[in-house]
Point group: C2
């Protein structure tokens, strides 16, 4: 059972590596599942024993990139919530950077706020993890009451908007994306603060 397990894991890696390379060079849409299987040295049917859909492959690539031990700059204090959220979101972008060009299918499915969470839906953990940290950061600023489900929904909408912009950002170092992120967070935070004042 151990040898088999190792072999399975090895095949899984071969698929992911092959897909990663092909997506990078040829693009997500232009890469066929037959291409990936051939590059991984397996039959097309085998590929679907490991991943239920083509999108699941790219989703796994993205999620795996977040699974590396994210060395969290331990409890560093930020001057403002906006600053803290900016650092958090920018860190998210950094992790996603290798996948920027073919992020669209992931945004449409795994990261979509509307997809119902399902068993073992590895994509959902990405959103959940990101939002948990947002809540945590807001708490440190005494804004926990303001983070209603609706507020998180709006945060995620804005974040997805930034990511969606980013995938097509033609500015030299995608600096326009950072500007948009800055503005979006400024809007979000000032609204959070406003709501807090009123309710106190």
């Amino acid at each position: 059972m151990r040898v088999t397990a190792e072999a399975k894991e090895s095949t899984r890696r071969k698929i992911l590596d092959a897909a990663q390379g092909l997506f990078q060079t040829t693009g997500f849409e232009a890469t066929t599942t037959r291409d990936i299987a051939k590059a991984a040295g397996i039959a097309t049917g085998t590929l679907f024993n490991y991943f239920p859909t083509k999108e699941a492959i790219v989703t796994t690539l993205v999620v795996d990139s977040h699974a590396r031990p994210t060395r969290r700059l331990a409890n560093e204090q930020h001057e403002s919530l906006e600053e803290a959220l900016f650092a958090h979101a920018a860190a998210g972008l950094r992790l996603l950077k290798p996948y920027r060009k073919y992020l669209t299918p992931v945004l449409d499915t795994a990261m979509s706020p509307m997809v119902e969470a399902q068993r073992d839906d590895v994509g959902q953990s990405l959103r959940t993890d990101h939002l948990e940290r947002v809540v945590e950061l807001a708490r440190q600023q005494g804004l926990d009451a303001a983070l209603t489900p609706v507020a998180l929904q709006m945060y995620w909408t804005l974040y997805l908007g930034v990511l969606s912009f980013w995938t097509n950002d033609k500015s030299p170092k995608q600096e326009d994306t950072l500007a948009l992120l800055d503005q979006s967070l400024a809007m979000f935070v000032s609204w959070l603060r406003g709501g807090e004042e009123k309710s106190n």
Copy 2:
């Protein structure tokens, strides 16, 4: 040439009507282009002489629904910008209501803020028209300077977020969507006002 033109228009309508009915009863994904063609009494190839893709059909349905003379309640004065924008966005929802269940492909393509405008891209006019009215309403409140491209980008992101939520809203009369819309616009408007104060 006139007889031909009339026939063409008639075929076009037959396709749209057939598609409308099938989408409604069977759903967008489950309806095949062969189904649509058969229901319209034409060959599958002919269908693609009228619409380049299956998505273009649903997009056309949605855009056509906006093409009806939108009787604009002539220059009615709203108490606040937020109220005016709410009425405007709610009117948008009302137009889209018949297509709510299969709006997703339209959001992903024609209404996406990232898709570059192309010649005769009928989908773009939907966004442009909506945003033009937003600018107009903001002007009436003396906030024209605040409506930078980035601001419009954020407005559209929020609007798409609301629409995306709406397509899956399980609450009885989709009242949760209106709540989300309300909050989103409150955030947007208060941010607009804040930016205006600073820059003055």
